[in-house]
């Protein structure tokens, strides 16, 4: 099922970094961001056409600000698109995204090296 869903994504998104078999990732978080978008698409939150348009906007904006345009930053734009799109769809506000980002930062800070990092309620600062 993953294969078919991924194949649809790769054919709908011509710029997706890939080898002759399918998508490739430079770092683990890129695969995670890819998986999240794939899941949301499978749920019907957006079509790949819609996604491609949002991503193209994001890339255009980044390039106007000096992005290298060599493919190495593709998933940075992917992640920014994901954040904006879920906010635009009313799924998660940008404020909540920041709150959770800060909470994870706090969780990492208090976690001794070598232990798994887990999010706890006290990681959320009162806003």
């Amino acid at each position: 099922m993953t294969d078919a869903a991924a194949a649809r994504a790769t054919s709908a998104l011509p710029d997706l970094p890939r080898d002759d078999v399918g998508p490739v990732f430079r770092e683990p978080w890129e695969a995670q961001a890819f998986a999240i978008a794939l899941s949301l698409h499978e749920r019907g939150l957006f079509t790949w056409t819609e996604w491609a348009a949002a991503l193209a906007d994001e890339i255009k904006r980044a390039q106007a600000c000096g992005d290298p345009d060599d493919g190495t930053t593709y998933y940075r734009h992917w992640l920014a698109t994901l954040e904006k799109l879920v906010a635009a769809k009313g799924v998660v506000t940008l404020e909540d995204q920041h709150r959770y980002r800060d909470a994870w930062d706090h969780a990492a800070d208090r976690t001794p090296h070598g232990s798994p990092i887990e999010l706890r309620p006290e990681d959320f600062r009162p806003s």
């Binding site: 991924a6 399918g22 490739v24 899941s39 232990s115 999010l119």
Partner: protein, 207 residues
């Protein structure tokens, strides 16, 4: 990539992008939009497609080229860098060599301490608490679980990755590979052999 330039000794660290991805995944999971197990399944499907995955190439080169082997053991980050692979995490790589009298294995529960650029994603068992605690207390028992048995007199050294340092095991070159070239040798190098929980494949054994 400047996110990892600042290192701290005592606590964990996530890059800015990692924080944002985790934030999204957590909220979307809480709201029921994504299922972490389904995300894991997708990511596992691309296990071999993440990072340059050049550990096998590094090991094969060390087996074939004594000068490179020496360089790798002295300064693994620089040696790996000569292969044209530029990586931020590679700055802190140490290669530990298996010999007839010493076997090395590596532990750490955090994926961020795992040399994924060389080995791909960490296996699930590697991240599990039992592996980490048992590997230190009872390395021989853990190796036995992996079907690895070593002569009693072989010393087993367990290397615990730190925020600054990650380890790559340089396994022993299998017998019967005289005259093999690097790509042929690289085919024999398994992920587990570079963590120290396995051996390279033997020549002629099916993969």
């Amino acid at each position: 990539m400047t996110e990892h330039d600042h290192h701290h000794h005592d606590h964990s660290e996530l890059s800015e992008t990692e924080l944002r991805v985790r934030a999204l995944e957590t909220i979307l999971t809480e709201k029921g939009y994504v299922d972490p197990a389904a995300l894991d399944a997708i990511i596992q499907a691309y296990e071999t497609k993440i990072g340059p995955h050049n550990g096998a190439r590094v090991v094969a080169k060390a087996w074939s080229d004594p000068a490179f082997r020496q360089f790798l053991l002295e300064d693994a980050s620089k040696a790996v860098g000569t292969l044209g692979h530029v990586s931020r995490v590679g700055d802190h790589l140490v290669a530990v060599e298996n010999t007839p009298t010493r076997h090395n294995m590596v532990v750490c529960t955090l994926c961020s301490c795992y040399p994924w650029e060389m080995l791909g994603l960490p296996p699930v068992w590697y991240k599990a608490a039992p592996y980490r605690s048992r590997a230190v207390k009872d390395p021989r028992g853990v190796l036995a679980d992996f079907g690895v048995s070593l002569p009693r007199e072989t010393e087993i050294r367990v290397w615990d990755s730190t925020a600054e340092t990650r380890f790559l095991v340089l396994p022993m070159r299998p017998e019967g590979t005289d005259g093999w070239n690097e790509p042929q040798l690289a085919e024999l190098v398994t992920r587990d052999s570079m963590i120290g929980t396995g051996f390279p494949k033997r020549p002629g054994a099916s993969s």
